[in-house]
């Protein structure tokens, strides 16, 4: 009897080599003249969330009161990262500072895309699925905005930025 995904949920794996594989995938994309690499990377993250959430979910509803905690919990449980989350309510931005990004570690001169694009897709999809499945009329939805800084580009840490909006309501 093979492992189940439920069992994998409770185990850890070293991502080091698979992290490198992401950049080799990016090179393969570039050599095949793929232009929408960012969207494809984010799609990877979104697909991961769609499957992952069937086995684990941090909460049943995400709103502005708990969004910072929910994001920190996802990073901790899924990526084993301790991050800090800032909320910019004026511009409706969520800013994640990740000093030990699971998908970015080394600077690459030949790569113009950060591995943590995947995390933009992963986090936004995770939260959107939770909220869409909730029975609340007013829901918070988030979408990937940009990777502001990344170790892949030579920065000291990764800064992932999301845009949020509130949908539904009165």
């Amino acid at each position: 009897m093979n492992y189940s995904r439920n069992e994998l949920l409770h185990a850890d794996a070293a991502i080091n080599q698979l992290r490198n594989a992401i950049y080799h995938l990016a090179r393969f994309m570039a050599k095949n003249n793929i232009d929408d690499k960012k969207e494809r990377m984010q799609r990877i993250g979104k697909n991961i969330s769609k499957t992952y959430i069937k086995y684990w979910s941090p909460t049943e509803l995400v709103d502005l009161n708990n969004i910072r905690d929910v994001i920190a919990t996802i990073y901790k449980k899924v990526l084993k990262s301790s991050i800090s989350v800032e909320l910019n309510e004026n511009e409706q931005l969520i800013i994640v500072n990740d000093t030990n990004c699971a998908l970015c570690k080394y600077e690459y001169d030949d790569i113009q895309i950060a591995g943590c694009e995947i995390l933009l897709g992963l986090i936004s999809e995770f939260i959107n699925i939770i909220n869409i499945n909730s029975k609340n009329k007013t829901i918070l939805l988030i979408e990937p905005l940009k990777i502001q800084e990344s170790k892949t580009f030579g920065n000291k840490y990764c800064v992932q930025i999301f845009k949020y909006k509130i949908e539904g309501g009165m």
Binding site: N2, Y3, S4, R5, N6, E7, L8, L9, A11, D12, A13, A14, I15, N16, Q17, L18, R19, N20, A21, I22, H24, L25, R27, F28, M29, K31, N32, I34, R40, R43, I44, N47, I48, K50, T51, Y52, K54, Y55, W56, K76, K77, V78, L79, K80, S81, S82, N100, A102, K105, Y106, I118
Partner: protein
């Protein structure tokens, strides 16, 4: 599993960058899907995935090349360390591995079949709508979902062989895939001669799609590596994990085996034949060991030889050596000496002719020590200590120097002191001897305690898990778990 292999696994796990295994499995699936999105051909996607895995592993290895220099250098040994490779690649313990050796007539190395009961890549594959990579489109002869993992394992294995300057390479191919419905993940590890391997790589470069992931530097790199020689390269010749493992697991048997190999390789004769030359000259053989020990110590920078060029230092060292020779049996308990004598007999059993072993059994441990010191003395004479000019002890030497000086007819305080100097020396000598004798007992006790304590501790181990080793392993487990937790 050997203790060194176990420790390496712990270190690899503790210092790897961990994520949840489910995330690992899903990101792996997504990479394969993205490749397939480009190739639109499932079988070709597997080949590309394998290359991506291989390149990813090689990249990691290049960054930590020093560690891999201490891994075993022959292909069959590398396969022995498959569990360790699995932890390096996947960061997870390998559970339930069956291992089968397949003889290969045209190769000096056999192939290996590895059957793994649990595959993290195929876990629950096909149960989610996102599992869109269509396994059913794969032919029976193609690899399965774990091809990328195979590429990684192969990448690490061949990196080790490359840094160890070995002329063989390993191909790890997935033969059975649980995603395809097989009952296990089955990997075939086949060993190729380097030239044959190079031809295979060049053929792959000609493939239009594969050439987009295979780096041409793959081949050039082999040549560059051969010219690199650093301190680690030299160290790894003597210390690799498999050698350490063997020495720790069965020290005496492995030292015997290694010495037998050296005698066969360097002297082109069987060990028994070699030791037969010393039959009835067993005393000389032990003296030679003492002699060689000193010369071996001197080999490192000829430090002893340079030091003994100074006449005073040579004299002091000579007296120290003489004192040590006389006192050693006062300090080291006879039972301990006897144990080491028995160890020497065990060492020679099987290596030397029976008659020689019987002759050595007639000596005592005390004799062994005397012979060793005699041999060492000859070596020290070669290196600059003239033992024939030394007095009975250092105090007489100091006394002699005073007697050689001329005495002034006028008896000043200084002169009186000089006159009394031999008596002062005599007094110091007696006090020093008294302290020595007082120290004899506690030193004997501590040596005995250390020797028998260690012996008792080792002999009292009931099983690996229950005994000292098990307890130390648990302690290390806790330490590494804490390191891992801290890093997270």
């Amino acid at each position: 599993m050997g203790i060194v292999q176990w420790l390496m696994k712990k270190i690899s796990k503790a210092f790897g960058r961990n994520t949840s295994s489910l995330f690992y499995s899903l990101i792996y699936r997504e990479i394969l899907k993205e490749i397939n999105e480009i190739t639109k051909d499932e079988e070709l996607s597997l080949l590309v995935m394998r290359e991506v895995g291989k390149q990813a592993a090689m990249e990691s290895c290049e960054r930590h090349s020093a560690i891999f220099k201490f891994m075993p250098g022959s292909p069959d040994k590398v396969v022995d360390y498959f569990e360790l490779l699995w932890v390096v690649v996947f960061g997870k313990e390998l559970e339930e591995l069956d291992y089968e050796e397949i003889s290969e007539e045209n190769s000096i190395y056999n192939s290996y079949l590895l059957k793994i009961k649990h595959c993290p890549i195929c876990a629950s594959y096909g149960t989610s709508p996102e599992d869109t990579f269509n396994i059913s489109k794969l032919g029976n002869k193609t690899e399965g979902m774990a091809c990328g993992l195979c590429g990684m394992l192969q990448g690490v294995a061949n990196f080790i062989l490359k840094v160890k300057k070995n002329n063989y390479r390993i191909k790890i191919v997935e033969q059975k895939c649980m995603g395809k419905g097989d009952n296990c993940l089955q990997l075939l590890c086949k060993i190729y001669d380097y030239n044959e391997w190079k031809k295979m790589t060049q053929l792959k470069l000609k493939d239009k799609t594969l050439s987009k992931v295979i780096l041409e530097s793959d081949i050039e790199e082999e040549v560059i590596q051969k010219n690199k020689v650093d301190l680690l390269d030299q160290l790894q010749e003597s210390f690799s994990l498999d050698k350490l493992e063997e020495l720790i697991d069965e020290p005496l048997e492995n030292i015997k085996k290694r010495i037998a190999d050296i005698i066969r390789d360097k002297l082109n004769m069987e060990p028994e034949h070699f030791f037969d030359y010393f039959r009835n000259y067993e005393e000389d053989m032990i003296r030679i060991i003492g002699f060689l020990l000193i010369h071996l110590l001197n080999e490192n920078g000829r430090f002893i030889e340079k030091l003994l060029k100074n006449e005073t230092i040579a004299k002091v060292a000579g007296y120290f050596f003489k004192q040590l020779k006389e006192m050693v049996l006062l300090f080291v308990p006879l039972d301990v000496v006897k144990d080491y004598h028995n160890l020497l007999i065990k060492f020679l059993e099987g290596l030397a002719p029976n008659e020689m072993v019987e002759n050595i059994k007639n000596y005592s441990g005390r004799d062994d020590i005397n012979f060793l010191f005699e041999g060492a003395q000859i070596a020290l004479e070669d290196l600059g200590i003239n033992f024939s000019t030394l007095k009975e002890n250092i105090w007489e030497e100091l006394n002699q120097e005073r007697e050689n000086g001329l005495l002034s007819p006028e008896q000043s305080i200084i002169n009186k002191t000089q006159e009394n100097f031999p008596k002062i020396i005599q007094l110091f000598q007696e006090i020093a001897m008294l302290i020595n004798e007082f120290l004899t007992l506690p030193i004997r006790v501590s040596i005995s305690e250390g020797h028998y304590g260690l012996k008792a501790a080792i002999n009292s181990v009931i099983s690996e898990e229950e005994g000292l080793v098990g307890s130390i392993k648990n302690r290390f487990d806790n330490i590494f778990n804490n390191i891992q937790a801290l890093r997270e």
